[in-house]
Every structure is written in C-alpha cells, then in structure tokens.
C-alpha cells in the first residue's frame, strides 16, 4: 500500500520542538518524527507515553533469578547431591554469584529481544526511509496525507511558519 506524507524538514531540535507543539495545537496529527539523535522533550511534545519496558526488565530479571536458583538447587541438592568441602548440599551463599549473573543475563537479553520486537527491527537488505538526511543532520516531521483531512497548501504554510527549512511530499510503499 502506498502512502503519501508531507515532510517538514527542520535544522534544529529546539525549533522542531516548538513546531511540534504549535502544529499539534493547530489540530494537525503528526504521523512520526525522525531525528538523528534522541531529542529530549520530544516524547512529551508528541504525547508518547512513558515506556513500560522497565517493568518488563524487572520480570526478565526475576525469571533469571528463579531459573538460576532452581537450576542450582535441583542439580546439587536433589538430582546428584554431593558433599563438597563438608558444606550442605544446598549452600545458598555459594549460589549467589551464578544467580546474580543469570539475573543480569536474562534481563539484558530479554530487554534487547523485546526492544527489537516492539520496534519491528530486524536485519533486512533494504530500509525505506522518508528522507535520508534524517540520520545525518535533519529533523523530519512526517504528516499523513491519506485521509484527505489536511490541506497541503495550508500545511506547507504552517510548517514554514514554524521554522521548517523545507517542505516536501513523499510517497512510500508500506507493507
């Protein structure tokens, strides 16, 4: 499916942040903003909700802790109990290092896999981008033109007035 976007190109992140506020205040829905680096305050300006990833991180960590404890207690305490240095079979203090390492391991890998999955990031040969300069030095604001609610001329003026250095239109095929 081919979609049409209006692209407002900005040169500076402070100008962009004001433009986002003003354009949203003018009742225009912003599809997405592409920036070369994380711009502080853009989440609030665009109304992006605070990520729930930290909660996921906690549970991934908890999985690691439980798995590590279960593994060590089961293996040394039940499956093949051995007397090592006269210590009890289930010597919890000695299990702390491995438990800690597996907590970190599960948390880190769990976070990465979750992050790539929810962002839809995976290795691919071709990456369609609306404006290649958005990974270099430009801040690109994309506004969806498909539902016909937005008048392009009005939008062009609005973006220009809010500091866009260029306003372009681009079609992109999306899956």
């Amino acid at each position: 499916m081919t979609k049409r976007f209006a692209l407002g190109i900005f040169d500076d992140e402070d100008v962009l942040l004001h433009a986002i506020d003003n354009i949203r205040a003018a009742g225009v829905k912003i599809h997405d903003v592409f920036t070369p680096f994380p711009v502080h305050g853009i989440d609030d300006a665009l109304g992006i909700e605070r990520s729930r990833l930290p909660i996921a991180a906690f549970f991934f960590g908890l999985c690691g802790t439980s798995f590590a404890l279960w593994m060590q207690i089961y293996m040394l305490g039940f499956d093949w109990p051995m007397i090592i240095g006269g210590k009890p079979h289930i010597a919890l203090p000695a299990f702390i290092p491995v438990t800690f390492e597996l907590t970190v391991l599960f948390c880190a890998w769990g976070m990465m896999i979750t992050f790539f999955t929810i962002c839809g990031l995976y290795p691919r040969w071709k990456v369609p981008v609306l404006d290649v300069r958005s990974t270099d030095d430009k801040f690109v604001m994309a506004i969806d033109l498909n539902n016909g609610a937005v008048d392009m001329n009005h939008l062009r003026q609005l973006l220009r007035d809010n500091g866009a250095s260029e306003v372009n239109e681009k079609e992109m095929t999306q899956k």
């Binding site: 004001h18 592409f34 920036t35 040394l76 030095d137």
Partner: protein
C-alpha cells in the same frame, strides 16, 4: 532533566555542526584503507600468526610446552587472563557507570572503549580455554546433562562462577555495544554510495529509521542495560579475585581482594583506553572530539584508581604483619625481597609512583607524557598479576618443593599473539565501524555552547518562530527552552 550551565566547557571543540560530526566520523569508514592502517594491520596479523603457531604447539604437544611446573601450576596464562579481563573493565565503566552518573564527556569515547572491552574479553578467554589442554571439551564447564550420568558442575567453585561471570559479561557487553551501534549504522547506510555497502549497513542497522518512538524506547533500554551492567562489571572482577581469595594460599587469602581487583581493573583499563584513544584521535583526525579535556579526565580516573591500588598494596603488607601468621608474613617478605623482587618493585614503581605524576596539571594535559604513562601502567598492572600469582605459588608450605617459574617461547608467543588478536580486531573495528558514537555526540553538541541554536543554520528559522503568524499561537510567544530541558 538536566541543567546545562553556560560556563561549562564545550565537550566538542571546533564549532562542529551535526553534519560535520557525520562527516568526520564516517570519513574513515567510507574512504579506502590507507597505507598506515594496512601497515598496522600487517603487524597485528603477524602477531596473530604467532598466536596461531603457539596455540598449535600447545594443542599438539600439550601443556608441557608452557613453563609451568608442579609447584607453579598457574603462571603466565592466568596472569594474562586477569590482565586482559581487567583491561576490559574500563569500557563498561565508561559506557555504563558514567552513563548513570550523567557524565556527558563519555559520549566521544564510549564506542571505542566498549569495543576494547569485547576484544579484551575475547583475548582473556583464550587463556583458561587453552589451559584446559583439551579445549574441544571446554563445554564441560557448562551445566549440561552429560552422557556419563547426571553429574553436574560444582556451583560452589569460584572457577565456575568465573565461567558464568565472564560469559555473561561478554554477551551483555556485546548486546549493549551493538544497540548503540544501530543508529550509527543507519547513518552510514543512508550515506552509502555503493550497493554492497548500502546493503551491508542496512543489514547491520536492523532497519533503524530514527523514529521518535524508537528513540524513546532506545533511551529506556540503554538506561536499563547501563543499570544492570554497572553491578555486572563490579561482580566480574570480584569473582575473578575470588579465584584467589577463596583459596588458602598465603598472599591470596585476603578479604580486600574484590575491591582491590576492581580498582586495579579500572586502573589498567583506563590506561589501555588512553593508549588506544591517543592513537585513534591522531590517525583518524578526531582531535575535536577526543579533546585534551577528555584526556585529563581519564588521567584523573587513572590516578584515583591507581591510588586505591597503592593503598591496597600497603594494606596487604600491614595485615600480613598484624595477623601474626608466619606464612602470610613470609609470602610478603618473599615478594619484596625474594627472587622475584624485580617484579615486585617494577609493579610498585609503575602502579604507585607513576600515576601520582598526574597531580601535575602539565602532565595531565600533555599527550606524549600521558601516552608514556599509560604504557607504564599497562606494564605495571601486568606485573601486579604476575607478582600475586607467581610469588605466592613458587614457595609454598613445603620448602623441598620450592621452584622458580620461567616462561617458554610458547608462553611469550601466546601472550604476544593475543595482543595481535586484540589489535587485529580493533583495527577492523576502526575501519568498518564508526569509532565515535555519532548520535550521542550530536546530542551533546550544544553542551557548553551558548544556549539556543545560535551557531547552526537553524538560526533564522528560530527567529521566525518568535514572529509566527500562525493562528492560535501568540505572535510574541517567548521561546521557552527550559521547558524541554
């Protein structure tokens, strides 16, 4: 979030714009390899060849090719292992601990430092694996249900903790490093001219577009990874120190080992970061990004951790005397005055005296002196591990079994070989990967520069915002930057 004061020194000098950052960092990725790089790679590959030869001898003829004997059963291998793991610690410290402490200057050096971590851990892993004698059975260290019955690994052993610590450390560092690389791969992809480069970097970039939502999550993930990496890096060298501290060998059986080893690791790691950065900034013309200020800050960290290590050396001596344990006292007197006195005093000079020179401002800001200092610290920290390991072992409880250790050609070959392996990997990284984290450097570009977009092209647009005629926006609406800070 943070208050940026105008009196701060800029982190990046030379009045760079966002585009300049991209250009400066991508230059060496896009250019053809130059003669100097090829020459350096040839030397590194030659040393790597020495490594392969020494490994071949070790595997074909066995551990007898090494200088170990019945009394000194651990020597160069474990010395080199601890040395390499320690070097790795600075990378994580810079990328994780300094991120949590919001030290913005880390942005210019974290990428290369973390690459150093990963390559150093790879080098470190070679030693215990080769010491196994039959490295193809290395997987026996993992808890898997084997064919000989369900006999499991011993979870009470610090050597096993080490397996878990080092492998977790390697894999988490790799993940953290790669996440940071994705936006920069996207930058290179979008600039790439040739179809092969574009495809390759597209593949590496995982389809990153720089969407605001992705950045928001990216920052959350970075913070969490930094949060878990910080205790991880401390735990790794703590566990390495427990390989020694949980034994009953005089000179090893000490409770100060964990903090002492962690400080030593950061100390040697920063020395290696400085060695690498001082070369990298000149070869790739990145003097505006890795400034004298960065070098001075790293020198300070080196000095502090070096002083902690110095205090630990003295504490060990004091405790040996204070404990009134004859064997403990002999171990330390033997270190300082026994047959390995030269190793002990090299360690003391390199690690305790040299870093104190950093108190002098001129030394801190001098590139040749810093370079020399970093090399001396690297040597000193190698001697530290050698002293701890060999002097404690070579004269044990039974004088009839006292022995000396001297390395063979193969020992030296494997050690030099891992240096070759390290530099081979580092040079390949420096050529094909962005050595500086472009996205993060761009985000701190305005740091210390007068607030507001005064020096970038956006200046006149900024003006147009203030005189906006847009309906619904007051014409004289003041631009409140603080709101987004």
């Amino acid at each position: 979030m943070q208050h940026v004061s105008a009196v701060r020194e800029p982190l990046v000098t030379g009045g760079k714009t966002y585009h300049d950052v991209t250009q400066d960092v991508c230059r060496q990725v896009e250019a053809k390899p130059n003669v100097r790089w090829m020459a350096a790679l040839s030397v590194a590959l030659f040393l790597f060849g020495v490594f392969l030869y020494s490994v071949y001898r070790t595997l074909w003829y066995g551990i007898g090719e090494w200088g170990l004997n019945k009394t000194v059963g651990w020597a160069w291998d474990i010395t080199n292992f601890v040395w390499w793991v320690g070097i790795g610690h600075a990378g994580t410290l810079i990328s994780a601990v300094l991120l949590l402490f919001r030290q913005k200057w880390r942005t210019s050096i974290n990428r290369a430092a973390e690459a150093m971590t990963i390559f150093a851990v790879i080098c470190a892993a070679m030693f215990p694996v080769l010491h196994m004698g039959r490295p193809w059975l290395a997987f026996w260290v993992l808890p898997f249900q084997n064919t000989f019955g369900s006999l499991w690994v011993n979870f009470n052993s610090p050597l096993l903790w080490d397996v878990f610590a080092i492998s977790t450390y390697f894999s988490v560092s790799l993940v953290f490093w790669y996440t940071g690389l994705i936006p920069d791969f996207a930058t290179i992809r979008d600039r790439a001219k040739g179809p092969i480069a574009r495809r390759a970097y597209a593949l590496l970039s995982f389809g990153w577009t720089g969407s605001a939502k992705h950045w928001s999550r990216y920052e959350t993930v970075s913070l969490i990874l930094a949060g878990v990496s910080t205790p991880l890096v401390l735990s790794v060298h703590t566990i390495v120190s427990m390989d020694f501290a949980t034994s009953v060998v005089p000179g090893w059986h000490t409770t100060i080992f964990p903090p002492y080893f962690v400080a030593g690791a950061i100390f040697s790691g920063f020395a290696m970061v400085l060695t690498l950065m001082l070369i990298t900034r000149v070869v790739f013309k990145l003097e505006d990004y890795i400034t004298l200020e960065h070098i001075a800050l790293m020198n300070k960290i080196m000095m502090i951790t070096g002083s902690i290590v110095g205090v630990a050396y003295i504490t060990e001596f004091f405790i040996a005397w204070y404990s009134q344990v004859e064997f403990e006292q002999y171990a330390f007197i033997n270190r300082a005055t026994g047959p390995y006195w030269w190793a002990y005093w090299s360690m003391m000079t390199c690690n305790v005296i040299t870093p104190q020179l950093v108190w002098i401002r001129k030394v801190r800001y001098s590139i040749p002196l810093t370079f020399l200092l970093s090399i001396i610290v690297n040597i000193g920290m190698w001697f530290e591990r050698f002293v701890i390991i060999v002097t404690s072992l070579h004269r044990d409880y039974l004088p009839s079994s006292w022995a000396m250790f001297s390395p063979t050609r193969i020992d030296v070959g494997i050690y030099l070989g891992t240096i070759g392996l390290f530099f081979t990997l580092f040079l390949l990284f420096a050529k094909f990967f962005p050595v500086i984290n472009m996205a993060e450097v761009k985000s701190v570009l305005k740091y210390g520069v007068d607030n507001g977009p005064t020096y970038v092209a956006g200046h006149d647009h900024h003006a147009s915002v203030q005189h906006s005629a847009t309906p619904g926006v007051p014409a004289s609406a003041p631009v409140n930057y603080n709101k987004h800070d």
